[in-house]
Symmetry: C2
Subunit: 124 residues, 2 copies
């Protein structure tokens, strides 16, 4: 599969896929002429990267968490675990923040409804 196919299957632009590779988030084998080739499993890999990016992680953080290219070893695994639990906490906190913002928004919506109801009753 070439980069255009992977792009079509994941929704990530070709530009983004090259960027992911540049950041160490994705690997590719190259044809003799230099074109990138991917396997089916890379589709899942890109989806994971997309999910983490959409969750507000930086590419550097994702690279630290997911040993995609480097040989896994114990020290690296322990360090990755540390980063993962830190990021997990950050995600939980972000979820809480979003929920709080949604609550605040619900209050505003209610206020606005009340305003409109009053406005209609008072005779516009």
């Amino acid at each position: 599969m070439r980069i255009g196919d992977l792009s079509a299957r994941t929704g990530a632009s070709r530009r983004s896929l090259r960027y992911y590779e540049e950041q160490g988030l994705l690997v590719s084998s190259r044809s003799p002429s230099g074109q990138r080739h991917y396997e089916d499993e890379h589709v899942q890999r890109v989806r994971l990267v997309q999910a983490f990016l959409a969750a507000g992680m930086s590419s550097g953080t994702i690279a630290e968490m997911t040993p995609c290219m480097a040989e896994p070893n114990e020290d690296r695994a322990r360090q990755a675990l540390e980063i993962m639990s830190r990021e997990r906490a950050r995600l939980s906190q972000a979820i809480d923040h979003l929920a709080a913002a949604r609550n605040a928004l619900d209050n505003l919506i209610e206020d606005n409804h009340a305003y409109l109801a009053r406005s209609a009753q008072d005779g516009s």
Copy 2:
């Protein structure tokens, strides 16, 4: 209360507070010499803005949602309601994305634990 006090009470930098004002998210009364002065209620206002910004809303969106300076009128209220429900949906979706990313992270964490356990058992 001057800008430094408001900054201390909200954690927003002076720069950010001026930026919020520039974007129409915050109002201030000015002393004859031009210094900004705030009331206690503005602390809450800044906290709301911070919550929405932290939730990934743009300042433009926040401005559209929260009629902070303009006279409220019916049309404006209806339009704000529309934007608010759109943003509420966006927030809910973002929460889902974050939860999905956290699940993916949990899987990685488990994989990593399994790897370390196996590594310890095999004799490092």
